[in-house]
């Protein structure tokens, strides 16, 4: 049972997390500037039509799988982590809070607003501009949060734990 819980659970958490945050970094480090440059020379339509819907599909569902696998890994310690109830759970509790806020941002702020930007939901130009700004800022907040998230994930478990906490 420990093998399924900690072995497979950790593996799935990491794989899904790489897909989620990998696509988040693609959006922020590559696509935002590329889409702007492509819009300026009139070659951006393909990104919105062919790339973004696929990228957002894997992005939002990888976020769900990552969170569920993380919650499963915490198991009975989940309340202790979220409430910072024990010293051992406090560092990963910060990671759990950051990941949860990021999942909220994906499903409540980024995805519904990207649907408007990409024309998957009806919106006029003013609504699209507002939606683009909200989705952009939520995506940047998630990029910012990913930095402490990875720190607390890597610093809070296993044989390296005494290195930081």
């Amino acid at each position: 049972m420990d093998f399924v819980h900690y072995g497979l659970g950790r593996w799935v958490h990491i794989m899904a997390g790489v897909m989620w945050i990998g696509l988040l970094y693609y959006f922020n480090f590559v696509n935002a500037a590329a889409a702007k440059a492509a819009a300026a020379d009139g070659s951006g339509a393909g990104i919105g039509k062919h790339v973004m819907p696929r990228a957002l599909l894997y992005f939002r569902w990888a976020a769900v799988v990552t969170w569920l696998a993380g919650a499963a890994l915490l198991g009975a310690h989940l309340p202790d982590a979220f409430m910072f109830r024990s010293k051992a759970c406090a560092p990963i509790g910060v990671g759990a809070w950051l990941g949860t806020i990021m999942l909220f941002n994906v499903w409540v702020l980024i995805w519904p607003n990207q649907q408007k930007v990409l024309g998957m939901k009806p919106a006029d130009d003013a609504e699209k501009n507002k939606a683009r700004r909200i989705a952009f800022l939520a995506s940047r907040v998630n990029t910012m949060f990913s930095i402490p998230l990875f720190f607390f994930m890597s610093a809070s478990g296993g044989i390296f734990r005494t290195g930081f906490f």
């Binding site: 922020n28 480090f29 935002a32 500037a33 910072f84 010293k87 406090a90 560092p91 910060v94 800022l137 940047r140 907040v141 990029t143 910012m144 949060f145 990913s146 930095i147 402490p148 720190f151 607390f152 930081f164 906490f165």
Partner: protein
């Protein structure tokens, strides 16, 4: 003041600063 999240490197630096703040907060919380 300009929003640091408008710049990619402002975002990364904000993440680093947040990491440091949270690290010292948790250290003080758990008495490390």
């Amino acid at each position: 003041m300009k929003n640091p999240l408008d710049s990619l490197w402002g975002t990364v630096l904000s993440g680093m600063a947040l990491t440091a703040i949270l690290y010292f907060l948790v250290r003080s919380l758990i008495g490390g």
